[in-house]
């Protein structure tokens, strides 16, 4: 399981890059969801979001999940390529699988990579 140390993590398995404002789902999340076949971004560019707002909906062959904003702010970019290639959420969740960028607001209560790793281990499966 990858947890890049430059990122911050939400309890609900989103990552947030404080440097760029980029948001995505974690390696742990993509693995739990298994093969992702559909993603829909629920916000628009320029829209203001609050922490915890549903920003995307993801469906895999066996599960469905909503993705929540880890930070408040304004949506400054959306990864429009995702709807065509939802499988990159599995193959490259921290790179090509980024979802949106949020800028100009404060992040919610997020974990660093070590704390997030512990959080994942603590969940029994």
């Amino acid at each position: 399981m990858k947890t890049p140390s430059n990122l911050k993590y939400a309890q609900s398995d989103e990552w947030f890059d404080p440097a760029s404002g980029t948001v995505g789902i974690t390696d742990y999340a993509q693995n739990q969801l298994s093969d992702i076949v559909f993603v829909e971004i629920l916000v628009e560019e320029g829209e203001a979001v609050t922490v915890g707002k549903a920003i995307a909906s993801v469906e895999s062959v066996k599960a469905s999940s909503e993705i929540y904003a880890p930070s408040a702010g304004k949506v400054s970019a959306i990864n429009k390529g995702l709807s065509e290639k939802p499988e990159v959420l599995n193959s490259d969740p921290f790179g090509e699988g980024w979802m949106i960028k949020i800028e100009g607001g404060s992040a919610g209560d997020l974990m660093d990579s070590a704390a997030y790793e512990k959080h994942c281990e603590g969940r029994a499966h």
């Binding site: 076949v37 559909f38 629920l42 909906s57 469906e59 066996k62 599960a63 469905s64």
Partner: protein, 451 residues
């Protein structure tokens, strides 16, 4: 009689294995004061008695094959069903199977649904079809659900033609009670007798869906291409409620550019059955497939490299998405979708063309002959397929009563839903109606006192 295959000895042995003394001991968890109520129901019948009783009940009806000549349509049509259809439906392998959750041992049902989806997309000119809905009305209501989900509740207006089946409009209203929808078109503001151009001004940037019927409830055929262009210009989706028999002959809603095409497939191999069960179909464009309700079958391969079929995109559905699902639908009309497929396959392209042609020809013969009777007139000038609006010299209810006394179910009394049309009957003619039946209708109406 019961169907329990356990002898008293076996029962006692089983009770012993379970560790209780009697069957009643299995129910200790149930509050004592309510346990084992005496049900006041008629005593059990043997199979012979049940067959006789049901036979008596059935034959006390006046039916449209043995007793009555019928020109009733209005959403349920009297068509001939080839014998082969029921022979296939009576196969226990089909009708005693469940929803195909285990695809390895359910390929019969899965491939049959895949073929149903294919028959529907080829018929409507659309890209995807689901595995069916309860009926045409609920399929239409699910189109509203799709549009609501597509715009994520940001658009709330539905523009509904008043010439959509009144009962379908009622169902849409029932279904959408929790959505806070704004409905336009379906009220006194639009003259129901006007054509689709009358609802175009109602479409705006808050409109999520426009619903029209093809042919419309009065039987009129319109090319909705312009209406659809106008709706798309405002970003709205368009749903066409289409009659499958009419689509065999007419320009497809897909060609017109519709986003969703739904309807009632009862005319394709499903008996009238006093209103149900029928078969709603739902087709749309591929881009809306993730918002579509209902079961969906897709093609894939098995571990041995064999082509096969599975339920797919199941995470759209209620058992996974729960309260976020577009709909709660699970069981649909599987067996009737199979019946529809057998109907379409058994008649084939040629037989279906014949059905459509006979409906068209006979309806036009009837309209032409009825229009010659003093006081009667075909009400609309637009083209029609197998159903048309007949203006009568007196209230339609009185005309129908007279016809009933003469062994004829006249037509649907349009005055029930449209006050301005209280003297109008909606007459449906199918391949079932012989020239003799049509001539009888004409003859009886000639005799009606039209003073």
């Amino acid at each position: 009689m019961t169907y329990i295959p356990i002898s008293p000895n076996e029962r006692d042995e089983m009770l012993k294995t379970v560790g209780v003394k009697s069957l009643d001991d299995l129910f200790d968890a149930i509050p004592k004061k309510h346990r084992f109520p005496e049900l006041d129901l008629p005593p059990a019948l043997s199979e012979m008695e049940a067959a006789a009783l049901l036979g008596e009940m059935a034959s006390s009806n006046e039916n449209v094959r043995e007793h009555m000549i019928s020109f009733l349509g209005a959403g349920a049509y009297n068509h001939y069903i080839p014998s082969v259809v029921d022979h296939m439906l009576r196969r226990g392998e089909f009708y005693t199977a469940y929803t195909p959750y285990q695809p390895e041992i359910s390929q019969g049902t899965l491939q049959a649904i895949f073929e149903f989806q294919s028959l529907m997309t080829n018929l409507t000119g659309m890209e995807v079809s689901n595995a069916s809905h309860y009926d045409g009305a609920t399929a239409t209501a699910e189109a509203v659900n799709l549009a609501f989900a597509q715009f994520r509740g940001k658009r709330k207006k539905v523009v509904m033609s008043p010439a959509v089946h009144p009962q379908y409009r009622e169902v849409i209203r029932t279904y959408s009670q929790g959505m806070g929808l704004e409905e336009a078109g379906d009220d006194a503001s639009v003259n129901p007798e006007s054509g689709p151009e009358a609802i175009i001004p109602l479409i705006d940037e808050s409109t999520m869906l426009v619903v029209v019927q093809f042919p419309d409830f009065f039987g009129r055929i319109y090319d909705y291409t312009k209406l659809i262009e106008a709706a798309h210009a405002k970003g709205a989706l368009v749903c066409i409620v289409a009659n499958p028999t009419a689509m065999l002959m007419l320009k497809t809603p897909g060609e017109m550019g519709a986003d969703i095409v739904v309807g009632e497939a009862q005319p394709f191999g499903i008996p009238l059955w006093y209103g149900g069960p029928y078969l709603g179909f739902f087709t749309t464009k591929k881009s809306y497939v993730h918002k579509m309700a209902g079961r969906l079958v897709g093609e894939t391969l098995d571990s041995r490299g064999q082509r096969c079929y599975v339920l797919t995109l199941t995470s759209r559905e209620q058992h996974i998405k729960r309260e976020r699902a577009t709909s709660n639908i699970c069981t649909n009309q599987g067996l009737l979708a199979l019946g529809c497929s057998v109907y379409m396959s058994a008649l084939g392209k040629s037989g279906l063309n014949q059905v459509a042609s006979l409906c068209y020809q006979k309806a036009h013969y009837a309209a032409s002959e009825l229009g010659k009777i003093k006081g009667f007139k075909v009400h609309f000038k637009e083209s029609f397929f197998h159903e048309f609006t007949l203006q009568c010299p007196k209230p339609a209810s009185e005309v129908n009563q007279y016809l009933l006394e003469n062994g004829i179910f006249g037509g649907y009394d349009l005055g029930r839903d449209y006050p301005s049309l209280k003297n109008h009957l909606l007459i449906a003619v199918t391949e079932i109606n012989s020239r003799e039946e049509i001539d009888t209708l004409v003859q009886v109406l000639k005799e009606i006192d039209n003073g």
